[in-house]
Symmetry: C2
Subunit: 189 residues, 2 copies
């Protein structure tokens, strides 16, 4: 493996929760809206799962939830359909310049992405390295292959550059990840 | 059309919000768990969309949401993958003995189910008539066809019996709707 030896772990494990995923999320949402409006694909972000504990039914117009908690999602954030194919992915940002820490993803989300593959769907991660300003798509088979063959708790950027696909910023759609899937579907046929 | 002339509208438009969907929802969730555990299909219920307004970050362990509101869902409640195919459906209960009132479904949900069909996926409704204890699956093309050709704001049970598929209660899975899709996928091939 050709990845830097610099110790970046302490830096890469720092996560700014207040901003994490915001920009990448809004870019993906805007791209999904473009795909929807142009009848290219139907991809939606799933709502964040929230456990509602107390509700105030006295509000006549709109029921007010007065106590609730965030829950761990069972699956991934995004799924949908493209050319009849089931699409499923998770999107994450990292501040690291050298690797993507696997702690960023829940283990059962990785299991889910693998299951999608086994059931004949297309699943992947979209990872944005915010510090270097690069966004990649990496298919499940490729990052699972890395996890299975390495003890590291992070995937080096060099591996992602080698196996993944760089998603260049565009105008509309902002990140055209569907274009990558065309090649992938083409490979399968 | 061979549907009863009895005026059932006032009755069918009465909805018990506190119980609506609970039983059918739990039956479908249990069936989905069966499909998941047996590697038959991956179908999940999407979380209910909630708009969070106020959050108490002082709670160290688990962020408490102190003000939030239910939002109208953009899509349907359930989606996933079966034999590589994208699956998408909405499940509804009605107390009516004679018809399913279209007010039960948001118009943009019907548009979504139709779009899924156009993109090569499989979409349908699961409707339970709680008073007569019968549950049906009706594919999007069939209920859209009814809507396009009729002015009524409800689909008669007789039409659903004719075009839909009766889902008999089973033990495991409780409602085996995936079996119906087998025939449908078979028809397409």
């Amino acid at each position: 493996m050709n990845y830097p030896n610099k110790k970046e772990n302490s830096q890469s494990s720092f996560i700014n929760y207040s901003k994490r995923g915001m920009t990448l999320e809004s870019d993906i949402n805007a791209s999904n809206k473009y795909y929807l409006d142009n009848d290219i694909a139907l991809i939606y972000k799933k709502p964040t799962p929230i456990k509602v504990v107390k509700v105030d039914y006295n509000k006549r117009i709109n029921t007010r939830i007065t106590e609730a908690y965030y829950e761990v999602p069972s699956t991934t954030d995004y799924n949908g359909i493209y050319k009849g194919k089931y699409i499923d992915f998770e999107a994450k940002e990292t501040k690291s310049k050298t690797s993507f820490t696997l702690n960023n993803i829940h283990k059962h989300q990785i299991v889910h992405l693998k299951k999608v593959l086994e059931h004949g769907g297309i699943s992947f991660l979209i990872i944005r390295f915010t510090t270097i300003g690069k966004t990649f798509l990496i298919f499940t088979k490729d990052f699972i292959s890395y996890i299975n063959n390495n003890d590291r708790k992070s995937i080096p950027l060099t591996y992602i550059e080698e196996k993944g696909y760089l998603l260049k910023d565009g105008y509309n759609p902002i990140i055209d990840y569907i274009k990558i899937l065309d090649n992938y579907i083409g490979d399968e046929l």
